[in-house]
């Protein structure tokens, strides 16, 4: 290397480093402003910037459903949404579900209570996503049978295999809390 020419090699010219911007998200009814880069996903914004760690990062590729949140009432994968794109949407996470409507005396959303009642989890990692997904499913109103619930929960993977109890819990809320459906 020492006998190479003494010319100085410049760093390759790169595009101007993109700026961060201030994005105001409405999360669980509260407006929260954060300075983020455009490549920050909604999932990372929630967990790393807003300390809302209830929403889980599983695969980070939209395959497992652990990051499911509600945006304008619709369930989506927060890992595939850019935070900067949802600044004017209503975002609801597991922490804010009770603000969606009536809570049980324990301060839980009926779907949370049903998951406990039916022992619908083991390790619990997928549970916030399962519950948000189930709330979205009942709002959508397309599940008319147990088989429909199974099919329409296919975007949420549970590695502990608590599926039968998860379906029981959702069926229970669907049948006994029609106002939530």
């Amino acid at each position: 290397m020492s006998n190479q020419s003494a010319t100085i090699t410049e760093a390759p010219k790169t595009a101007q480093l993109p700026r961060t911007s201030i994005v105001t998200l409405t999360v669980n009814g509260e407006q929260r402003s954060l300075r983020i880069a455009p490549w920050t996903t909604l999932l990372d914004a929630l967990r790393e910037y807003l300390d809302l760690t209830g929403t889980k990062k599983g695969c980070d590729h939209g395959q497992c459903g652990a990051c499911t949140v509600l945006v304008d009432g619709k369930r989506i994968n927060a890992c595939l949404a850019l935070a900067v794109m949802v600044d004017d949407r209503e975002i609801t996470t597991i922490e804010g579900l009770t603000k969606e409507g009536s809570a049980t005396p324990d301060g839980l959303h009926p779907m949370q209570a049903a998951f406990i009642e039916h022992d619908a989890f083991q390790c619990g990692y997928c549970t916030p996503g399962q519950i948000c997904s189930a709330v979205g499913l009942l709002k959508e109103g397309h599940a008319h049978s147990r088989e429909d619930i199974q099919e329409l929960m296919s975007g949420n993977i549970c590695r502990c295999g608590a599926y039968p109890n998860i379906v029981d819990a959702i069926e229970d809320v669907k049948n006994h809390q029609p106002d939530r459906a």
Binding site: A15, W39, H61, V84, M85, L137
Partner: protein, 326 residues
Amino acid sequence: MNPFTYSRAGDLDEAVREISDNDRAKFIAGGTNLVDLMKANVMHPTHLVDITRLGLSAIEETEEGGLRLGSLVTNAETAYHPQVAERYPLLANAILAGASPQLRNMATNGGNLLQRTRCYYFYDTATPCNKREPGSGCSALNGHNRIHAILGTSEHCIATHPSDMCVALAALEAVVRVTNRYGERAIPFADFHRLPGDTPHIDANLEPDEIITAVELPPRGFSQHFKYLKIRDRASYAFALVSVAVGLEMEGDTIREARLALGGVAHKPWRNLEAEALLVGNPANRETFKRAADRIVADARGYGSNSFKIELARRAVVRALNEAAK
């Protein structure tokens, strides 16, 4: 993900202008495929133009009596739209056979058409792939190719198009409406996606500076006799090994009109007009169905792990036709 800049287009003109001015810019709407590919370092645009506020989010009747699906309508909104469910159940069923509810709530109709293949080698940046890196070679030809194409392949690429929705749109003979800086144009669905040939890095006949504004469905929806049959490795939330979209018009037991498209077998939704012609005017029975299926797979070629798809496709066509004719 690589660093990128972001802008939000306020109207169609602005969106087209932004994309025309920057050859490393991409549109983003649902983001379900693009963000994933950016995380995998397969795609690395330096600028994203957010098109989600452009409108283009209506489903409305066309003057010809068909239905215009805005390109920004989500897959879920499309599948559950009363007019789609009633008049185009083949399309509704195909959409609901794909992805998961969360993804269908995000993914748009325009984006569904433009999603990239799920070939393992396309995603694995450590391996050669002509689609990802033109000229680098195809790892699937002699690699793991269980999910790969059996029809319309080339020595450069045996990837499949992953969409279910597009298989139904091919059978329905939809039209893709696009806008560029010079105006609008319409692309018949059969001409929208491409075969790999020696340019497998180009998926569709859409120029980089064009935007899809709508997908138009012709009046005929085959709502009486239709079937979307999807065969996959698990019952839900998996890509098709083989799928078949069928639309028939029957007169008694005789087939008067037939549309047939296959998914999971080629670089684009696969139609064989000769096979469709073999159905028309003939009785809806097993012999007729087998003749059409045999015609389709006569051109097929297996690459080892995916050779089972030839017989699978043949049987799937017969079964889908049988169920559609009922």
